[in-house]
Every structure is written in C-alpha cells, then in structure tokens.
Symmetry: C5
Subunit: 94 residues, 5 copies
Amino acid sequence: MIIAKVIGNVVSTKKNEVLIGEKLLIVNPIKRKEENSWSLIEGENLIVAVDRVGAGIGETVLVVTGSTASKVIEHKNAPVDAAIIGIIDEIEIH
Amino acid sequence: MIIAKVIGNVVSTKKNEVLIGEKLLIVNPIKRKEENSWSLIEGENLIVAVDRVGAGIGETVLVVTGSTASKVIEHKNAPVDAAIIGIIDEIEIH
Amino acid sequence: MIIAKVIGNVVSTKKNEVLIGEKLLIVNPIKRKEENSWSLIEGENLIVAVDRVGAGIGETVLVVTGSTASKVIEHKNAPVDAAIIGIIDEIEIH
Amino acid sequence: MIIAKVIGNVVSTKKNEVLIGEKLLIVNPIKRKEENSWSLIEGENLIVAVDRVGAGIGETVLVVTGSTASKVIEHKNAPVDAAIIGIIDEIEIH
Amino acid sequence: MIIAKVIGNVVSTKKNEVLIGEKLLIVNPIKRKEENSWSLIEGENLIVAVDRVGAGIGETVLVVTGSTASKVIEHKNAPVDAAIIGIIDEIEIH
C-alpha cells in the first residue's frame, strides 16, 4: 500500500454502473523528506481512488492499488484499481 | 484509476475473439500543471483502453488499469488490462 | 493495452509445461513522435509475449500485460503476464 | 518479490475491517551497491506492507507486491497489495 | 515476461509456510545493447523469483511477474509475484 494525501475529487455522471454512488477521491502519494517531514510527490502521480472509509480532503490515507482494491466493493465485477483503506493517524519511522 | 484524455483509436481486424466488436480507444494520461490547469503527459504513456461508456475523442475520462479492467466485459476470459469506466465532468482540487 | 512492434523471439527448451508449444515473441513498445510517426521506445522495455493471433516479425501489435494476459491460454494455471491480442492495421490519432 | 528493510509502521484507527489487528509496517526497498553492500533506495519507494512473519524494525525482508500479497490473510476479500513473506537471513550474490 | 540473468539467491528461515522448500533466486533483468549484445540493467531492478525449472547461476531465464507467477506453485494461496518459467537457449532479434 502507499501513503497519500486526499487533495480533491472527480465528478462523473456517465460511468460504469458498479461505480454509481461511490465517492471518487483524488489522492497524491507523499514521500519522506526528512526524519518526520513528508511532502507531496510532484508530477504524474495522481490517483483516483474509491473511498469507503470516509476520508476527507487533506487527510493522510492508506491506498491499496491493483486488483485487490476492488475488494472494498461488494460487487464481484467492480472495475476498480485503487481504494482508500485507512485513515492514517500516525507514521512512525524508527 | 487515472485521469486521461481520449486522443484516438486503434483498428485491428485480426484479434482475440473476445475483443470483436469492442471499441479500442487510445488515451493519454494527463497531469496537473497548476491549480486548475491540466496537460497531456508527454512521452511513453499512451494506453489502449476498451470503452463501454461511450467516450468520444477529446473527452476527459477515468481509466482503470490492470486485471479488474476486464470486468467491464461480460466474458470471463477477456484479455483486457485497461478500460474507460467514466466520463469526467469535473475535477475538483481543494 | 500497449502498442508494440514484434522484433524477435525467444527459444526455451526447458520451461513450464503450460508454455510448451506456445510462440514466445519479443515485442518492443512504441511511442508517438509526431502526428503520425511512431518509433521504438529505446532502453529497458522489451517484453516477451505469448502470441495466439499469428503475429509476424515487424508487425505492430496490441499487447495486454498483467494477469489477464493468461486468459488467451485455455489452461487455468498459465504463468503468463503478456500476450499479443491483436494485429494493428491502423492507429488513428485525432 | 523485492528485498527491503523495515523502517517503521503506520497507525490507523479508522480502516477497512479486514485490516483490523494487522501489523502494517513501512518497508524501504534496498539496492545492491557493490558486491555485498546494500543500501536503501532513496526517494519515492516506501511501501506499507502487512506483516504475518513477525518482522522487526531494521530487519531485511522479502516483500511480495500485487494481488497475491492478499493471500497471507485468510479473509478472501482482503484489500492488500503488499506483504512481508519472509525474514532474510542472507543474500548470496555469485 | 522479461528476460533476466540469475545472479544469486536468498536464504530465509522464517517465512510464509507456502514458500517452505522453494528455491528463491535473485534475477537481474537484462537489456539489449546492440544487435546481439545484452547487458545487466544496473540499479534497482533486482527481483527475487521462485524457481521450478531448475535454473542455475549465470543462466538467462524467462521471468513472469505479477499474480500469475503464483501459478507455478500448486498451493492456491501462494503469495508469489515472480517466477522463473523457462531457461532461455537463444534470443533471436530480426
């Protein structure tokens, strides 16, 4: 999983029916700068992820990518490759 | 999922039988330049995606990649790794 | 899926039994240079793909990567992550 | 699989229910500098992985990524894309 | 699939039980320099792969990555994302 920050959302009216009603958030992966300082990874790394844990803008989240991301949705044919699976309270680097 | 723009299509007569009749669009991932300005990512990033939502040339779309992309096709043996699953009306960055 | 050109093949006598008899072609992804000009992507991008559509050296093909590539083979335990699923007649960029 | 070093962990109270009770470690992939010298890969490569083998901070581990990582958890709907599957005693380069 | 060279192995005593007894080889992807000259790709590309075809150090092999790599192991819950599926006798570039 990767660590990312929620920075926005996507509005799509015409979409795959399994996605109707799903919250589609834009997350930006973050990287570690120094001991306990993290920053957004600039560039081409924006991901649109399904959110089922109630994440909000600005929160740091745990994002799963690839086919298992579709497991957060009950429907067995969910065409989803990214999902927010946790809101991160703390990142501990030792 | 990633955000991309539809820029073309592929014509293939001789192909895997599950793909017969499918619309194969070429999409170019986009990246955020400034607050609300987006541009095509140059280079090696073109993806050929199955379209089942009726996307047109020039539209901004939501693209799923990897094995769950094959879920947009009913056939259980679809050799597909990219699909357009939504037409994006608006991208909101906060 | 990605667009690539067939540039060679691999000979392997000792291999996983599901792959016996399969044609293993080397494909080189291509990128768009200008409007309708395409070139091989140099470097580290060679992929060995199973071919079931009868592609030949020099042809431009559609390549699926990841686990769904294994769907072109009937065997349910095919350890395959890339397959040629179509011969491209034309690439149309609008 | 990749070789990585455990450098920290993530605390998440609000998360997907399948992840409750799982240890979520932060691993940093390592690369080979010289014959038998390895160093952390700097930059954007931090991965959050589920640990079921009892790895500790500072240990060198084997990490599986992608959908099969979810197999370390008994639950069939685990939204997991990275897991520690072994503690490495020795890396032998010949 | 990718073309790689076997350069070493990993020793892990404490590991996922499905991996007990499996040979875990370190492979280094190779790239084409000139017509028929190949070299190791330097840097961060080392992969640990399960070997079931009896590959030895120094041999050029075909490596499958991603979830289908787990198909080389009979166990349905194998957390494996890379496997050697063939020993390459010859690479033919036309």
